[in-house]
Symmetry: C2
Subunit: 253 residues, 2 copies
């Protein structure tokens, strides 16, 4: 690659979050960077989009090799807006994060960080979501920089398989034990609603790992000090049950 | 099943939408029904949840065999609230819809209708999402009633495979040609941002079917007058690329 690649960055914690600033600093080592991120927190935005409202975008910064916009929409809106409104060329890579909080197991479905990467994948741009298992807003991201750069460089040089994105999670450690390619573990959120008063609730709860001994899962990696790389696919079809469903009374011959 | 089963209903068009009223009427033929649905449209809410706000729930109706609540949250919030706050027993089935607009191919990722069913599936309750390919708010749902009842009855009697939900779509026709068990087709939304003015946009666009000739896809079924039943799974792992990723420089031995 002779010219510097173009890298689009988004997230769901908002443009002011530490995680996206660190990711921006890292990506500026690899190419020209455009950030299009929400103007505030959009945690757990999933692949939500905003068909019913006007989406407002503001230019925050424009300097050599780095342009930053904030947007009133969701992470997915941000990526759509970048690819179909703001950028004059297709980016070579879309990265999302670094999220404050992990996005492993079923939490992937709720994640706006992963949602932004899914959107890029739909548009056939190599995409990686990065998340850190932490509850803190201020973290030390240095232990993860090498893996972030290495995965981004890999996607820039080799691309990713069609309709596949990478979901990378980090445990909060001073030094990673290594990197594992993992599957999504099975898990479940428990006791998720706290009653505030009559007819008023807020989300809470804890995550239950349904297969804590399975060493090939993302959660096992995180629990044991490894970064996890999980390839995700757009196709959610349960192919393994298609043939058996065809033999049920659901579809009379 | 000797006692009447308990059926939970949600949607993303809101509690006042025609589709959920029709689905409620149908489900009342099969069991006792509790509706917990958003208090207004939440189209394209995906699996979005509301961790940052108080969720308000109001009882709208309570009669023999039918209770209706509206909720200030998303479809996924509604299901969490029902399962972990409002219901005193686990439902036998969760159904979502009937959505005004299809949820096939990649649109599945944006769908709040599917999001509600995904949430139920995570909680190990058989779940079905129903959607109608229409642009109208007022539709004739009679042509689909038999398939809705048949799929719901099947899930009540036989359950569904672990971590699998059903996504059912209908074409807008006077008479269905039949029912097909399908995979999610490959597709892409195009030209999605319309500029309203300087820095102001709204979502628009059209869907491009990337494999219009593939007769095993959901979109083919809809385009040819069939109802589509697509089994979806919670596991988004791209298992087919795990081994090849392990052999890349991403994970040094």
């Amino acid at each position: 690659m002779s010219e510097r690649p173009l890298i689009l960055i988004s997230n769901d914690d908002g443009v002011q979050a530490q995680g996206i600033k660190e990711l921006t600093r890292m990506m500026c080592q690899l190419g020209n960077v455009v950030v299009v991120a929400p103007n505030g927190p959009r945690s757990a935005a999933s692949c939500c989009i905003s068909p019913l409202t006007t989406i407002i975008v503001e230019l925050l910064k424009e300097e050599e090799g780095l342009t930053v916009y904030q947007c009133s929409g969701t992470p997915t809106d941000c990526v759509k807006l970048a690819l179909d409104g703001l950028l004059t060329q297709k980016p070579d890579l879309v990265v999302s994060g670094i999220n404050h909080g992990d996005n492993a197991s079923v939490s992937i479905h709720y994640s706006g960080t992963v949602g932004a990467a899914i959107e890029a994948c739909m548009k056939q741009v190599p995409a990686i979501a990065y998340s850190l298992k932490t509850k803190s807003h201020e973290c030390n991201f240095r232990p993860y920089e090498e893996v972030v750069l290495q995965t981004a460089r890999y996607a820039l040089e080799h691309g990713l398989p069609q309709d596949v994105l990478l979901n990378v999670n980090f445990p909060e450690v001073e030094q990673l034990k290594g990197i594992k390619v993992c599957r999504m573990g099975r898990g479940r959120w428990m006791k998720e609603m706290a009653k505030e008063g009559e007819g008023a609730y807020h989300l809470t709860g804890y995550f239950l790992n349904l297969e804590p001994e399975a060493e090939d899962t993302d959660y096992w990696a995180l629990d044991h000090g490894f970064a996890s790389i999980t390839p995700l696919q757009l196709d959610m079809t349960a192919h393994r049950v298609i043939e058996s469903l065809k033999r049920t009374p659901l579809t009379p011959p």
